[in-house]
């Protein structure tokens, strides 16, 4: 097939046909405040390769890489060690270059890793079924809300104030048109009384644990309260390594688990691509969005894999599909599967214990700094400090000392006055004793 772009004559003819003066006339309904002015990028029209390389190198040199020094940011994206074997294996061309299997049965290797991924996700979350992944944790959460609305035929989703604000915004963007989304007040370091808000119109409550401030939530009573009113509990996990140590959301009564899988197998990647994990009860399977891989036997009785229950999906169900906006994150979910296979059950538990021990030791030391208090009574590898001054300014001051101290809560919730002095700090197995020493010393200096 030849590909010939439109000539200026073609364009003029097309515009004349529909009665538009120029291309811009097609966009006149875009609100003024949403229009990006041409000058904003200030880029030259042309430049040689060498010049571009130098310009980009200069820009790159201004970046401080997460791996370059003491780094304590979390809040939904976690820096863990990914073994070199993971990157090596996912870069095999059979994996790296393959697109989604449109003739699935001949892609047995792809189907097998998807099946194993699903098995791992179901085991981790304590649920019965898991799909072959979604974009990321936030869109998985939005899909879970849509699914709960379909299952209960009720409109309202109640989001915990401890849900990561980016997740809440994603749910509001995607689920508002199909129902109603309400958020409970933000109560840093404390559990809000979300059970009291559940009524007969409530489809689901969405609770993150550990929450955005690192607080570990007891999901059991929330699940019971939701079920008593005919509503569902959606449990959100942004730090999946925590499930190596904590009781699974499934065991606590969650109906749907939506999680971010980046922590296992995947780097920070500037915020994406990540991998959304999605698991639920078998009785809700027909309303689950996304691709699902199944194990079966072929005509000769040998084990094989297929895509199954496809009648939920858009190529068959069209506008009535369980989702028309999802896809799976193939390569990221492969990285997850390989890394988790390398860790094994014991390895994951050991990794989780190391994370918790490191964070606990750091929290104890930071809380002893004058004027600083720890507001998260129960946490995994992330906790929140209350500082005597705005956290954003403290983070800036510590960057000057070579420490990336964490995420100021005000960055995630700029309109929340109670968040201004809060600093969200994560510590993982990648933080050395020296990193922690430097952090404690730098914070003490900044507070004096």
């Amino acid at each position: 097939m030849r590909y010939l772009p439109l000539t200026p004559d073609d364009r003029s003819a097309m515009l004349a046909k529909i009665g538009a003066r120029d291309i811009d006339a097609l966009f006149r309904d875009v609100p003024k405040e949403a229009v990006v002015s041409r000058g904003v990028f200030d880029l030259p029209d042309t430049q040689g390769e060498l010049q571009v390389e130098r310009a980009l190198s200069r820009m790159a040199a201004r970046t401080t890489a997460a791996g370059a020094g003491p780094f304590f940011c979390g809040a939904g994206a976690y820096k863990h060690h990914v073994p070199a074997a993971v990157d090596h294996l996912i870069q095999r061309s059979e994996f790296l270059t393959s697109y989604t299997p449109y003739q699935p049965e001949i892609a047995q290797g792809t189907l097998q890793y998807l099946f194993e991924f699903q098995t791992q996700v179901a085991l981790l979350t304590g649920m019965e079924v898991a799909n072959a992944s979604l974009y990321d944790g936030s869109t998985a959460t939005a899909e879970a809300v849509l699914m709960a609305q379909r299952l209960t035929k009720r409109p309202k989703a109640i989001l915990s104030g401890g849900l990561h604000p980016h997740y809440a915004e994603t749910v509001e963007t995607i689920a508002t048109l199909s129902g109603e989304v309400v958020r409970t007040p933000v109560t840093p370091g404390q559990a809000e009384d979300i059970a009291a808000l559940i009524d007969e119109r409530t489809a689901c409550v969405v609770v993150q644990s550990p929450d955005v401030f690192g607080l570990i939530r007891n999901l059991k009573p929330i699940a019971d309260a939701a079920h008593a009113k005919g509503a569902l509990l959606i449990a959100v996990v942004t730090e999946i390594v925590s499930l190596g140590l904590l009781e699974s959301p499934g065991a606590q009564g969650a109906d749907i688990v939506a999680a971010e899988g980046q922590s296992i197998g995947n780097g920070l990647n500037f915020g994406g691509p990540y991998v959304g994990l999605f698991a639920t009860r078998e009785k809700f399977l027909r309303q689950m969005p996304g691709r699902l891989c199944g194990e079966t036997t072929d005509a000769a009785g040998k084990r094989g894999y297929v895509l199954t229950l496809s009648t939920r999906e858009q190529h068959i169900r069209r506008e009535k599909a369980t989702s028309n906006i999802c896809t799976n994150s193939g390569l990221c979910c492969l990285a997850f599967t390989i890394h988790l296979s390398l860790l094994g059950e014991e390895g994951l538990a050991r990794l989780a214990r190391t994370n918790h021990a490191r964070a606990s030791a750091l929290a104890d030391r930071l809380a002893k700094v004058k004027g600083v208090s720890l507001i998260t009574p129960s946490f995994f590898n992330e906790f929140t400090l209350k500082l005597p001054k705005p956290a954003a300014s403290v983070v800036d001051a510590l960057v000057e000392k070579g420490v990336i101290a964490g995420v100021p809560a005000s960055r995630l919730m700029p309109h929340e006055s109670s968040a201004r002095d809060l600093l969200i700090v994560a510590a993982t197995e990648t933080n050395t004793d020296e990193d922690c020493d430097v952090f404690v010393k730098a914070l003490a200096e900044a507070m004096s």
Binding site: R286, T311, I316, R317, K320
Partner: protein, 124 residues
Amino acid sequence: MSETRYTDQHEWVRIDGDQATVGITKYAAEQLGDVVFVEVPETGRKIGAGGEAAVVESVKAASEVYAPIGGEVTAGNEALTADPAKVNADPEGEGWFFKLKIADKGELAKLMTQTQYDAFVKGL
């Protein structure tokens, strides 16, 4: 004396007084292939003629089942949830989908008789 009528969407409806029993025809069941899932409407739901009432899925397709005439659902065939294969085995008997209390018997006049439906299928 009951009477059975048909729609061009391949549903059948059997009338007993003001009660109607609805299912999909033998032709529809054959076209779908092995039925693996059926969702029937809940009792008490009011559906207009032509409204979506149930869902049927086979290994290769999924489709809606529409109410041939309007009314209030008096029963859904829960047996199909556990054993959807009944739809293939006995589509116009044990494989019924739901029962309705008929709102307006006048709507029956728009539906096909057995002879008309047989001719309709032959022409497909």
